[in-house]
């Protein structure tokens, strides 16, 4: 019965979303306060109804209601409660419902927090958010109804794919969607601004917090997915340039450009048309990502259900949203007032360079992702594009960007002195060289590109530290003055330092784990040893143990370093009888300087087990770096200047602090 109520709530939500997309829009055109005021309650109502539907579905999972097709196909009574709940979005139908829930929540948040927005802008933003919501609710109801019943209902469910029964993966989709869907707000603001024909500093101040929220959540979501792949798939890899991964990376790259571009509009009221275009394209890539993942047109290591009908529907949504947005852009962008000019060497110039490189890098990822589709359509060849392609295209574009990233924050707005900025980075440069030398010495050599990569990572971190030291006049003024200045710095300044420094950590981890990864594969009998990167692992025994819904072969390995026992690692190979699948559970001994990673495979007839042991230097820095970046975004978000409708007086004060 709750399932029918959920379905009913979903239908009502669609109707409300349709009203939400029409009434406030008409109201804004007629300057009719009553019609415009209709948008807010609609957005709240839509959220309430979608949330009710979502809870009805969660309830069906928790109570193992196998008369629902999605529950029967994806859940089982003998599954831990946590994974019953998270299993709600572990499949296509449920994850689309989660998507709609987050979309509705963002719409309601604009209605809730946006009471200081100009009435027409607020009404239009809410209406456009309503249109997106209506599109996705229709998608769910017509192609992927999660409340479809089975008759007769099966007695037991098929279970959730065991590799998905994992905490990080359970939080991964919500975080990812908070990111993907968050860009819908930037899209709605962009389209509304085109209709209004007005983009100014105030508009940028309203858009910025939403974009930052989406950007930070997407960073966490991508990092979680990558971390999951690292420890769960048992290959010791953390990024595969898989289409599904690229689908989330592309909006993040453009979103990064957008986050920076919005600052230019806020501070200098220039680059407006470009910012609007970026906002439209970023959400377009979010939709494209959904299309790629949902339609299964691309062969991926982790594609969901393959259903051409669904793919077509998402493609239609994509065409309407992006086609409509871009048409409006072509018609109206010229009406946006041109902003003041700036010298090429200036903060604006640096941000333009950042935007160009990020957009072009995103374009190469897009080309690599879609190329297999093109090749098949044109020449009927089945091809795949792998890491070598991205190493030859994405990486060369990132190098100048990383070089410029430390310099950009040193440049003044409007017109800057490049020589002076570089002069201030002299210490950072020398420190980076020293770190490269240290890395070269510790690793005992290495490929040139890896050393360049470590140098760039150090350059970013040192650049962020220099930025801080410059702003508080460290060592140039008495310490007390510097401390007072540090306390007075706006949080957004700390946010950008954290984000830039975090990327430095990420780059260091990515470079080290790729260039200096050590691995060893062998057959081992109990008592035998294998050595990797100075660690010796001795296989003690392999025992069979039972878990809540699986049985496992657990290998016990003693780790020796210089003859002394330092740890015991227990990689497992689990078999899930309900799903008829086995999974590899790697044992990972994490550390600041690197992870020791052990996997046990299948035994052969003689009782020897395949084992694979890796040492991955600095690999943990990848995810720590991503979290630091996201934390930077969150800190920036908490800056009072970023708050919607924050009083203008704080701005003058903050400006003083930045300029100083």
């Amino acid at each position: 019965m709750t399932a029918e109520l959920g379905h009913y709530a979903l239908v009502l939500a669609l109707i409300v979303a349709l009203l939400q997309s029409v009434v406030p829009m008409v109201g804004a055109g007629r300057r009719d306060d009553r019609l415009m005021g209709f948008g807010g309650p609609c957005a709240m109502m839509q959220l309430t109804l979608v949330a009710a539907a979502f809870l009805a579905l969660v309830n069906a999972y928790v109570t193992s209601d196998f008369s629902l097709r999605v529950v029967a196909e994806n859940s089982h009574a003998a599954k831990p409660l946590l994974y019953k709940v998270t299993g709600t979005w572990g499949n296509h139908e449920g994850s689309m419902l989660l998507w709609s829930l987050i979309l509705a929540a963002y719409g309601a948040a604009v209605a809730w927090f946006g009471d200081r927005l100009p009435a027409t802008l607020r009404a239009r933003v809410i209406a456009i958010q309503g249109m997106t919501g209506a599109g996705f609710l229709a998608f769910i109801l017509f192609t992927s109804n999660p409340f479809e019943r089975l008759d007769p209902a099966p007695i037991a469910g098929r279970g959730l794919n065991p590799v998905l029964q994992d905490l990080a993966l359970a939080i991964h989709p919500p975080m990812l969607y908070l990111g993907y869907v968050g860009f819908s707000i930037a899209f709605a603001f962009a389209v509304a601004a085109l209709i209004e024909g007005k983009v100014d500093a105030a508009w940028a101040r309203w858009v910025r917090p939403w974009t930052l929220t989406a950007w930070s959540c997407l960073a966490v979501g991508i990092a979680l997915g990558s971390w999951w792949a690292y420890y769960e798939l048992g290959w010791g890899g953390w990024w595969f340039w898989d289409p599904v991964e690229n689908a989330s990376l592309m909006p993040w790259l453009l979103g990064t450009a957008l986050v920076h571009c919005v600052v230019v509009v806020e501070r200098r009221e220039t680059l407006k048309a470009w910012t609007i275009l970026l906002a439209i394209l970023t959400f377009g890539l979010s939709l494209l990502g959904t299309f790629l993942v949902r339609s299964g047109v691309l062969t991926s290591v982790h594609a969901f259900a393959v259903d051409p009908g669904r793919g077509l529907f998402v493609l239609l949504l994509l065409a309407i949203a992006i086609g409509g947005g871009l048409t409006l852009y072509a018609l109206r962008a010229s009406s946006l007032r041109q902003g003041p000019t700036f010298a090429l060497v200036s903060r604006e110039g640096g941000l333009v360079l950042n935007n160009l490189l990020l957009s072009v890098a995103c374009a190469t990822v897009l080309l690599g992702t879609l190329y297999p589709l093109l090749a098949e359509a044109i020449s009927n060849d089945r091809v795949s594009v792998g890491p070598p392609f991205y190493a030859a295209t994405f990486v060369p574009l990132m190098i100048p960007m990383l070089v410029a990233m430390a310099v950009g924050p040193m440049l003044a707005w409007r017109k800057a002195d490049l020589a002076a900025a570089l002069g201030r980075l002299g210490v950072a440069f020398l420190a980076s060289i020293a770190i490269v030398a240290l890395g070269w010495y510790v690793a005992g050599g290495g490929p040139l590109m890896a050393l360049v990569g470590i140098g760039l990572a150090a350059w970013l971190v040192m650049g962020a530290l220099t930025d801080f030291a410059e702003r508080v006049a460290l060592f140039r003024r008495p310490l007390g003055v510097s401390l007072r200045r540090a306390a007075g710095l706006p949080r957004s300044a700390y946010g950008s330092m954290l984000a830039h420094g975090g990327l430095g950590l990420l780059v260091a981890g990515a470079v080290a784990a790729s260039a200096w990864k050590a691995e060893s594969v062998q057959m081992m009998r109990p008592g035998e040893t294998a050595t990797v990167a100075g660690y010796t692992l001795r296989l003690e025994e392999v025992t069979r143990e039972g878990g809540p819904n699986y049985v496992a072969d657990v290998a016990t390995m003693t780790v020796l370093r210089d003859g002394a026992e330092i740890a015991v690692m227990t990689p497992e190979r689990r078999f899930y009888p309900v799903e008829g699948q086995s999974t590899t559970e790697a044992a990972i001994r994490g550390g600041v300087f690197g992870d020791l990673y052990a996997v046990v495979g299948e035994p052969d007839d003689s009782g020897a087990w395949v084992t694979r042991i890796y040492f991955e230097p600095l690999v943990g820095w990848i995810w720590v770096g991503a979290l630091v970046m996201a934390a930077g975004g969150a800190l920036s978000l908490s800056d009072r200047r970023a708050r919607i409708g924050a009083p203008a007086r704080s701005r003058a004060a903050a400006e003083l602090a930045v300029e100083a």
């Binding site: 794919n161 590799v163 998905l164 048992g234 062969t299 290591v301 982790h302 594609a303 041109q338 000019t341 700036f342 090429l344 333009v352 160009l356 490189l357 957009s359 072009v360 890098a361 374009a363 190469t364 080309l367 690599g368 190329y371 090749a375 060849d381 089945r382 091809v383 795949s384 594009v385 792998g386 070598p388 392609f389 030859a392 295209t393 060369p396 574009l397 594969v521 062998q522 057959m523 799903e579 008829g580 699948q581 086995s582 999974t583 590899t584 996997v599 046990v600 495979g601 299948e602 052969d604 020897a608 395949v610 084992t611 694979r612």
Partner: protein, 145 residues
């Protein structure tokens, strides 16, 4: 031309130049790095260049999986008409089974076997990689849709 227009033109030109450069770079890279998918029959009919990375896919022949003491696994990948021996050092993915679809990536060895450094099996036991399904269909061994 006003300074604002000149600046805009300059930015657009720089952007286009960068995009053109990246496109050129990408197309050149695609030429060298793209990995073609081949069925065993296709490989035997027209062998690929010795150091060219390719993907080989098909069904893992029942009874063909042999584990060597040094950790190398040998198995035969077949499309019904012909089969090729694959050698792979490492832990096979969880869904690797005899009689099931598999996609491997690597190079053809001069010794006539396929030296794989990657073995892919999907996260779903009922899933058939589309390339494999097509290769099997081409040989008339696949009845699915």
């Amino acid at each position: 031309m006003s300074p604002a227009k000149r600046q805009r033109l300059l930015l657009v030109l720089v952007g286009l130049g960068l995009l053109a450069g990246a496109t050129g770079l990408s197309l050149a890279a695609l030429n060298d790095t793209v990995t073609f998918f081949h069925s065993p029959t296709a490989i035997l009919e027209s062998p690929p260049a010795p150091d060219r990375r390719i993907r080989l896919g098909g069904l893992v022949e029942a009874g063909s999986v042999v584990r060597e003491p040094d950790g190398v696994v040998r198995f035969a990948v077949s499309d019904g008409a012909s089969s090729i021996e694959v050698r792979y050092a490492g832990v096979l993915p969880d869904l690797f089974r005899e009689g099931q679809g598999v996609v491997t990536e690597g190079v053809m060895d001069a010794g006539g076997w396929f030296a794989a450094d990657e073995v892919l099996a999907k996260h779903d036991e009922t899933y058939m990689p589309p390339e494999v399904a097509e290769a099997l269909r081409a040989q008339g061994h696949w009845q699915g849709e």
